[in-house]
């Protein structure tokens, strides 16, 4: 198993962060990198969506959303009982893990591309579909029947959040314009993708390093959850993908999405809707452990699983 070189950048950032070296890119640059990644992923997905979209897609979409609702419902009791976490923290972590990480998705795309493993390129759609439902479930789990939450405000925050909007906007523009018209935009949105991803991961490494602290205080359970839950959820996602008729590569990507944990949209939403939840717990797990774990082990594992069950060898 050869490591994708973009992962080295994450490792570099992580080490620099642990040495407390000041390697941070300025905030605006980090913003621009993630902006570009989201839009690039959306555009590419949109082009493919227009090309290969079919009636199957509706069923697939509904199933994927159902998975986004089901996974946090499964994770919550685990975190509450086994982990003995407070209700708010359990709900918040369930929301993070039910939602998705675009960075992990991007690394998975890059991994498949560098090995020429075919996959449905419209899967960016599933990222959009998976981002929000788990967060809503998490909020409901945390707050129960309590009133006072401004759902309208929260809805704006969720559906008009950066990542949903950039992915969705990219999908629509990609589908509307088509591959040929977008060709002159490729130097920025396609050719630069992997370089931009490398810089983004360097930064993520630095951020992850700063997040590892709280893990020491919160014992083994969280670490174990951050490793084993992704394996479980990823297997579910892969199986669902194969069941929905995706290619092994596509099914593995759905597995990666299921296994990945949000570290941008979910933290912001939970901080607003469930302020009593401790944001360092969920971020330490999702960013400090699950993100690198998936990059190194999760992605190849789900690809192997999908090929084992789905036929063609990797």
């Amino acid at each position: 198993m050869i490591v994708d070189p973009v992962v080295y950048f994450f490792g570099f950032g992580l080490i620099a962060g642990l040495l407390r070296a000041d390697l941070r890119l300025p905030g605006p640059i980090y913003d621009a990198l993630s902006f570009l990644l989201l839009l690039s992923i959306g555009l590419k997905g949109g082009v493919e969506l227009a090309r290969h979209g079919s009636i199957d897609l509706l069923l697939q979409s509904v199933s994927v959303i159902a998975m986004g609702v089901a996974l946090p419902l499964l994770a919550f009791p685990l975190l509450l009982r086994l982990g003995r976490l407070r209700r708010e923290d359990a709900a918040s972590i369930a929301a993070h893990y039910g939602s998705v990480s675009v960075g992990t998705f991007a690394v998975a795309l890059s991994w498949l591309a560098s090995r020429d493993i075919p996959h449905e390129a419209y899967l960016a759609l599933f990222v959009v579909l998976l981002e929000v439902p788990a967060i809503v479930v998490g909020i409901l789990l945390a707050r129960g029947h309590r009133t006072g939450l401004d759902w309208r405000e929260l809805g704006r925050e969720l559906f008009l959040g950066r990542s949903v909007l950039l992915l969705a906007g990219g999908l629509v523009i990609g589908a509307a314009a088509g591959a040929e018209a977008l060709a002159p935009l490729e130097p920025v949105f396609v050719d630069a993708f992997k370089g931009v991803l490398a810089l983004f991961l360097l930064e993520m490494g630095l951020i992850a390093a700063a997040r590892l602290g709280p893990l020491r205080q919160h014992g083994l359970f969280l670490v174990a959850f951050a490793v084993f839950w992704p394996l479980f959820a990823g297997a579910i996602g892969t199986l669902l993908g194969l069941g929905l008729g995706l290619s092994p590569g596509g099914a593995a990507i759905l597995g990666v999405l299921a296994a990945s944990a949000s570290y941008i949209a979910a933290p912001a939403a939970m901080r607003i809707a469930v302020p009593a939840a401790n944001p360092s717990l969920s971020l330490a797990a999702s960013l400090g452990i699950t993100f690198p774990f998936n990059m190194l082990f999760g992605i190849p594992a789900f690809v192997a699983l999908a090929h084992f069950l789905g036929g063609a060898s990797p």
Partner: protein, 101 residues
């Protein structure tokens, strides 16, 4: 000599994530205006930096009457202190155009 008029300066430092809500609160409570700055800091909730999304602080200044400043401070106290990183303080200032503040 310039005639000046006493007013109160309320300074709020809090998580950037709730800046929008505080802005709305200020409008509702009748603040004549405000000035906001992106800042970082350290307090009981640890070190807060602006590098990573959601993680920065903002510093909001409101020049207004003493009564309004206290009303705003009380509101913030009741609504946000328990859940969010936030501090605020009052101080005496003088303005030239009393009708504006």
């Amino acid at each position: 000599m310039t005639t000046t008029h006493p007013r109160c300066l309320l300074t709020i430092v809090c998580e950037a994530l709730i800046a929008g809500r505080i802005e709305a609160d200020l409008a509702r409570l009748g603040a004549p205006g405000w000035t906001g700055t992106a800042v970082q800091g350290r307090g009981d909730h640890g070190r807060r930096e602006a590098h990573w999304e959601n993680d920065g602080n903002v510093r909001i200044e409101v020049v207004c009457s003493r009564e309004l400043a206290e009303r705003i401070a009380d509101h913030l106290h009741a609504r946000y202190y328990a859940d969010y990183a936030m501090v605020c303080w009052l101080s005496a200032v003088e303005v030239l155009r009393p009708e504006k503040f």
